[in-house]
């Protein structure tokens, strides 16, 4: 058990000890807040490896920190022999609860203290470097050689053999060659690193220079440029989510100018398709979800209706190349920066999406957790119940972040042209309770709030300034139903009702004529009443709440409302004629309405139901958004470019795009990441220049074909010695199918389309409803994003997908439609089919196969059948 107890020893965090140690769920659940804890752990689950074990076997006398051990492994990588990848490297074997340092451990601590005192970097790699040539245990072998040979540098009795020493020396040489030279400091503001000097074509684009530097160290030979057809399809799909047309292919192939490729890239990033393609990517990261709920109960349980306006904002913003910093501000605080601009307020759909009818706790929890994951790649969720075990964030800081969002709620404002917010509206956030207090929840349990309310704040270790200033709101935001546009719409709606009634009356005959007459009267009375009430409002808005003008207007309103009641009651009586059950009540209602109408004139009337919202917003979210979008924030730009890189190359620079913390994985190219982050900020946070820099790099333009020598050295292509072949995303497969057949409807934006209509309506896939359990079946078969969490897609290849392409009537239909558009002669048919579907000409062998196939039976059938085969071709669903 020595190893086990060593492993479990962890840094013991203050609040855990301070708030009790009963963290193991009691199996009988008796009286323990069992469930609450497990709920908290659920959200803290992400990559909290070790954390739980530490909690379960709490050892108050902790001395080794798992992160230290991890640092060592990160630094030495595969050069660290398993035999010393162990706490015994620095510690003596378990002696009760004590784990004292051995000679090496003592020296590591000592040098660490010295470095710290001198104000130098004192992390594990630095310390190790400093003392690598020393011999801590005095057995005649240097620390580093002992480690590399798999022996303990702190144990004089553990000595390598001569042969082991020899191989360790060779390992040391190899390690020195590839050892990390650039320090990964994710919590330090980005500073542009110097670009390595690389001769030749790989020295031109800094991206290539950074990659070539690693190639050189590892004896990797990058692949040559991909052939032009492959390249064109790759970049076109990558930037627009659609393949190139044959015309675009031919134009590119025949353009021999040196700027041919750059021109293509310019054309693609300028295309509105770019915003749709990359909008869908960011929708993954920002957890886009349409409303979901319990249909039968007519309950909205998650997200909100009309949240598609935020989706359109994403597409529009990307197409306009709005700065990422500005996008952050608009999504988190659009209602505070531009309360009167619905084009900006719609961006707060980002927050609206977290709405959870069933639990405000979970709503706020998701908001904090996912905001920190999406923009900061920080597993803040771990700190909901205790200080973060790996990253320098406290539990208190978690609740300060929560306080940023505590006041906010969701509402639906009216939009021009529609008075019924059920049909359309602007779902947005606002600070509903500016004074709402936030308490630290002890052990994350909402039944046990701490006593002192917490001010909003941001994690100290991420730096920056966070200054909250309340934002005074405009009239339109405070009383949105008083906006002139809304009043116009109300009047129009009332006028329309009258006009409809007039039309109906003109057509009605016989018995129905009387009813139509009464309906018209009711509609007119309704309109008059509305007008009268609005007249009072107008006087009041001018500041007069009494006086003869006001009195007269109020009396008019009262009279109009009485008339409206009588008209409605008359109609009800007429409609109830012949219905013995309803008639008496209707008659009684009419009598009382008429009686009320006879009463003396009064200034008492029913006011319009105008919601009034708080006059100020706390400014907390704006302060937070500004802190996020500040160039001094160390993570924002790094995290963003990592997401972008992932979607260009199929692999991220920091694997595990949602965790830049100690418990995440190390970047493969930290200097490159910092370079890209610096570039993003330098260009005013605009993404298009970054895309351009990436897709014009040699790295991006490489062939994806494997190469045996490289495969041996780097089988996983971690160092990007080729382009990685990828499977297309679900949306790209469906859109491409429709597009190459000439059927894709490129209409942009608008309300989410019924997800069950995906095989009948030929709009782009991102416009269809996507919510928990409301996703297009075809897309789900191709691993579409889980709306709850999808920082990185997982593209599998499954037989259900094969069925969905092969047995899909839509595919057969597209084949039929496309066949009709292709040339008659067999040779031209085959070429055109390949160019349309796979965006390349067939090879000679392929042509021979296909020509033979076309002759295999009924001409029309074989032609369509060939297209079906190409729709099922591996390349159709892949990028090479």
């Amino acid at each position: 058990m020595i190893r086990l107890s060593f492993r479990l020893v962890g840094r013991v965090s203050r609040p855990v000890l301070g708030r009790g140690t009963g963290h193991t769920p009691r199996r009988d659940g008796s009286g323990d807040p069992f469930y609450k804890r497990s709920a908290c752990w659920a959200t803290a689950r992400r990559q909290c490896a070790f954390a739980l074990m530490v909690m379960i076997v709490l050892s108050p006398l902790a001395s080794a920190r798992p992160p230290y051990k991890r640092d060592l492994g990160n630094y030495l990588g595969t050069f660290l022999p398993a035999a010393v990848n162990d706490c015994r490297l620095c510690h003596l074997p378990d002696d009760g609860d004590e784990h004292p340092h051995n000679a090496f451990g003592k020296r590591m601590r000592q040098i660490g203290n010295q470095l710290r005192a001198a104000g130098d970097e004192n992390d594990i790699p630095t310390r190790l470097e400093k003392i690598s040539a020393e011999d801590a245990d005095g057995d005649g072998v240097s620390n580093i050689l002992e480690i590399l040979s798999g022996h303990l540098p702190g144990d004089a009795n553990d000595v390598p053999t001569a042969a082991e020493l020899e191989s360790a020396a060779a390992k040391l040489t190899a390690f020195r060659r590839v050892m990390p030279t650039y320090r990964w400091r994710p919590y330090t503001p980005v500073a542009a690193p110097s670009v390595p000097k690389v001769d030749g074509p790989w020295g031109q684009n800094p991206i290539d220079a950074f990659l070539a530097d690693e190639h050189r160290k590892r004896d990797l030979t990058p692949r040559p440029e991909a052939d032009r057809t492959t390249l064109l399809r790759r970049v076109t799909h990558d930037l627009t989510g659609l393949p190139p047309t044959p015309e675009e292919l031919h134009a590119f192939l025949s353009d021999s100018s040196p700027s041919a490729y750059d021109n293509v890239v310019d054309r693609l990033v300028a295309s509105p398709r770019y915003g749709e393609r990359w909008g869908r990517h960011w929708m993954d990261v920002w957890r886009y979800s349409d409303a979901a709920g319990w249909t039968a109960g007519n309950q909205i349980r998650d997200s909100h209706p009309h949240v598609w306006r935020w989706r359109d904002w994403i597409v529009d913003s990307l197409n306009a190349d709005k700065g990422y910093d500005q996008m952050i501000i608009e999504m988190l605080a659009g209602d505070e920066v531009a309360p009167d601009d619905p084009d900006i307020v719609r961006a707060t759909g980002y927050l609206v999406r977290n709405y959870k009818m069933l639990s405000r706790e979970k709503w706020l929890q998701d908001t904090v957790d996912h905001t920190m994951l999406a923009f900061q790649a920080t597993t803040m969720a771990c700190a909901k119940c205790h200080d973060h075990f790996f990253d320098p964030h406290t539990q208190e800081e978690y609740y300060r972040l929560r306080a940023v969002f505590e006041p906010h709620k969701v509402r639906i404002d009216r939009v021009p042209g529609q008075v019924d917010t059920k049909i359309d509206g602007l779902s947005r956030v606002f600070d509903a309770e500016p004074a709402a207090k936030t308490f630290l929840l002890i052990r994350g349990d909402d039944r046990f709030p701490d006593k002192t309310p917490l001010e909003p704040g941001v994690p100290k270790n991420l730096g920056g300034t966070f200054k909250v200033e309340p934002v005074p709101l405009t009239d339109g935001a405070i009383r949105p139903d008083r906006r002139p546009g809304v009043i116009r719409d109300l009047l129009k709606s009332a006028n329309d009702a009258v006009a409809r009634a007039e039309k109906a009356k003109a057509k009605a005959a016989g018995d129905k004529a009387a009813i139509a007459e009464l309906e018209l009267a009711a509609a007119s009375a309704e309109r008059d009443s509305l007008k009268a009430v609005l007249a009072v409002e107008q006087i009041e808005q001018a500041g007069k709440k009494s006086g003869p003008d006001w009195e007269q207007a109020a009396k008019d309103a009262s009279a109009a409302q009485r008339a409206k009641a009588v008209a409605a009651a008359k109609l009800a009586v007429a409609q109830a004629k012949g219905d013995a059950k309803k008639l008496p009540a209707a008659e009684k209602a009419l009598a009382s309405a008429e009686q009320a109408a006879q009463a003396p004139a009064s200034t008492v009337f029913q006011r319009r139901d105008v919601k009034e919202y708080p006059t100020i917003s706390t400014g907390r979210r704006l302060a937070f958004a500004r802190w996020l979008a500040d160039e001094q924030n160390p993570l924002t730009a790094r995290v963003a470019v990592n997401h972008i890189w992932l979607r260009h190359f199929g692999q991220a620079i920091v694997p595990g795009v949602f965790d830049f913390g100690k418990n995440g994985r190390l970047p493969t190219h930290p200097a490159l990441l910092d370079h890209l982050a610096a570039e993003l900020m330098k260009s005013g946070w605009k993404m298009k220049p970054l895309h351009r820099q990436i897709v014009t790099s040699r790295a991006y333009r490489q062939a994806s074909t494997p190469e045996a020598g490289n495969l041996k050295i780097d089988p996983d292509n971690v160092y990007v010695w080729r382009m990685s072949p990828r499977r297309l995303e679900a949306e790209a497969i469906r859109d491409q199918l429709l597009f190459v057949s000439g059927q894709l409807d490129l209409t942009m934006g608008g309300p989410d389309i019924d997800h069950t209509a995906g095989m009948k309506i030929f709009r782009r896939s991102l416009y269809f409803r996507t919510a928990a359990e409301r996703q297009m079946e075809f897309l789900t078969l191709f691993n579409v994003a889980n709306v709850n969490e999808c920082y990185e897609r997982k593209e599998a290849i499954s037989p259900q997908q094969a069925l969905a392409l092969y047995n899909n009537p839509l595919v057969a239909d597209m084949a039929r439609r496309l066949a009709g558009q292709l040339p008659e002669t067999a040779g031209a048919y085959v070429t055109a089919a390949f160019e349309r579907i796979l965006a390349r000409a067939p090879t000679e062998n392929e042509r021979t196969e296909c020509l033979a196939y076309l002759e295999g039976g009924d001409v029309r059938r074989q032609r369509e059948s060939l297209l079906v085969v190409l729709f099922n071709h591996h390349e159709f669903a892949s990028l090479r």
């Binding site: 193991t24 769920p25 009988d28 659940g29 008796s30 807040p33 069992f34 469930y35 497990s38 709920a39 752990w41 659920a42 959200t43 803290a44 689950r45 990559q47 490896a49 739980l52 319990w294 639990s359 199929g650 692999q651 595990g656 074909t705 494997p706 089988p715 996983d716 292509n717 990685s724 072949p725 990828r726 928990a772 359990e773 079946e777 789900t780 990185e792 599998a796 290849i797 499954s798 037989p799 259900q800 997908q801 094969a802 069925l803 092969y806 047995n807 009537p809 090879t843 392929e846 296909c850 196939y853 295999g856 059948s865 060939l866 079906v868 099922n872 071709h873 591996h874 390349e875 669903a877």
Partner: protein
């Protein structure tokens, strides 16, 4: 995500796939994900951790909450104190011990303090003298094959507990891997032409778990249950060949596809993605015939269909599902999930008129379930097939509205049979009115752990890189019922 650069292209697994050792495209794709191991967590390699007792699981779930009191844990004390307020009985203390780990009962359902006698008769069955409500007399007759666990408990007091029963997590925590997905993740597939994890019947409604109740959460979509509908002519999306496309045409198309894919793969030797796709088409081709063939019930002799109650009456529908389950297991499907009474909060939700509700619903399922056990046994399949019966919670000993029973997460029962489970065993107990589980209480994941244990998997060792599992997710095997 790229398979090639994430998966280890040239590992033992791709070698196996290359040599065709029973690894299908589906499994191949799945395994490539598993290859993304982090050094400190070991995902399963598709082999059991220790010698398994069971190979397959049939997991039968009753949606809405079956009364434990009138099924496998009858309480005659309720008849004795029928109509009395619980405070006026010797068991007054039980009601005062409302448990704070259970999310509160719905006050709209009344106070449920007046005890209600059993709405059905009871009979002792088998050598163990298992007391069973007469609504379940056919299943009761199999008493010597089953092990009843009478001391289940859960934490959610509404029908989201259906999701919780399958994931171990409260529904508001969202989707987590279900027991079926863990099974497939841990062991992989047994067959060439069918999914590993098949779902029959209507899952709970979207209020209460919906598709998540057979989902795979963070394990990824390839481990989610695939719904097959034995009632439909299209039991799996797109499984039927297109109309007018003959077998010869299919063969010539797929063969051209194979040749074109190989030609296009010349520059990509050993490309795992291309290989996965080729295998996916092979498996898909097989599924086109295998799935409909599995549901060709007319190939079963009349006496077998009779055994499942498929020849008429209320049992026809569920009988068909039970028989489908057996036929799926025969064809190597690892995990078959049967839902009964799904949609919305579940049909078994007898807030009123429990006699009519439970009487009708049990008449639909009792005979088919007993028939399934009998059939599995007579074919020798019960040795390696683990059958699990359960529901999300029990029902209250006190009456709701005079003739119904309310939700009751404090106590309910489940039973297991076959796959190395002891027959004729009663494990755990409730107090004399069935209010609280009192002896050897088991949270729902203990059933999961028992299933995994019988399949040769140690729940403690079932990991996926990048995810931290809780002790509560894993549960502990109920060793007392294991042979």
């Amino acid at each position: 995500m790229t398979l090639s650069n994430r998966g280890c292209g040239r590992t033992r697994r791709s070698f196996l796939a290359d040599t065709g050792l029973g690894f299908t495209g589906l499994a191949l794709g799945a395994m490539m994900f598993r290859d993304k191991a982090r050094a400190d967590q070991t995902p399963p390699d598709g082999r059991p951790h220790f010698a398994p007792k069971a190979k397959n699981v049939i997991w039968i779930f009753m949606c809405g909450g079956v009364s434990h009191l009138e099924s496998f844990d009858p309480k005659l004390e309720l008849n004795r104190y029928h109509g009395r307020n619980i405070a006026d009985t010797p068991y007054a203390e039980a009601a005062q011990r409302e448990r704070n780990d259970i999310i509160g009962g719905n006050p709209n359902h009344g106070n449920r303090r007046v005890l209600m006698g059993l709405a059905t008769g009871v009979t002792r069955h088998g050598k163990s003298g298992l007391l069973v409500g007469d609504w379940w007399r056919h299943t009761g007759a199999r008493a010597d094959d089953i092990a009843v666990v009478r001391s289940m408990w859960t934490t959610h007091n509404d029908h989201g507990a259906m999701l919780q029963y399958h994931t171990g997590r409260h529904p508001r925590e969202g989707p987590f891997p279900t027991i079926g997905s863990w099974t497939c993740y841990g062991l992989g597939t047994l067959n060439q032409n069918l999914p590993e994890y098949v779902v029959l019947g209507m899952p709970p409604g979207d209020c209460c778990g919906g598709e998540w109740a057979h989902g795979s959460g963070y394990l990824g979509p390839e481990f989610a249950g695939v719904r097959l509908n034995p009632e439909s002519t299209d039991p799996l999306p797109y499984v039927r060949p297109l109309q007018g496309r003959s077998t010869e045409q299919q063969q010539s198309e797929l063969s051209l596809l194979g040749r074109l894919n190989s030609l296009a793969g010349i520059d990509y030797p050993h490309d795992p993605q291309l290989r996965a796709r080729i295998r996916a088409y092979e498996l898909a081709y097989g599924m086109q015939t295998e799935v409909p063939e599995t549901f060709a019930f007319d190939r079963e002799p009349a006496h077998i269909r009779e055994l499942y109650g498929m020849t008429g009456g209320p049992t026809v529908r569920f009988g068909r599902q039970c028989l489908a389950a057996r036929r799926l297991v025969e064809r190597g499907v690892r995990f078959v999930q049967l839902f009964h009474g799904g949609g919305g909060g579940g049909e078994w939700d007898a807030h009123s008129g429990i006699r009519a509700n439970h009487g009708r619903l049990s008449s639909e399922v009792d005979r088919p379930i007993a028939g399934l056990l009998t059939d599995l046994k007579q074919r020798g399949m019960l040795d390696e097939t683990l059958v699990v019966w359960g529901t999300e919670f029990g029902r209250s000993p006190g009456a709701e509205g005079g003739d119904g029973r309310d939700h009751h997460p404090q106590a309910f029962c489940a039973w297991l049979a076959g796959g190395g489970i002891k027959g004729g065993v009663i494990h755990g107990q409730t107090d004399p009115i069935g209010f609280h589980s009192v002896g050897g209480r088991h949270y729902v994941t203990d059933i999961h752990a028992t299933v995994l244990h019988q399949l040769g998997l140690d729940p403690q060792r079932l990991e996926i890189p990048g995810r931290q599992r809780l002790a509560i997710d894993r549960g502990r095997p109920i060793m007392e019922i294991i042979a």
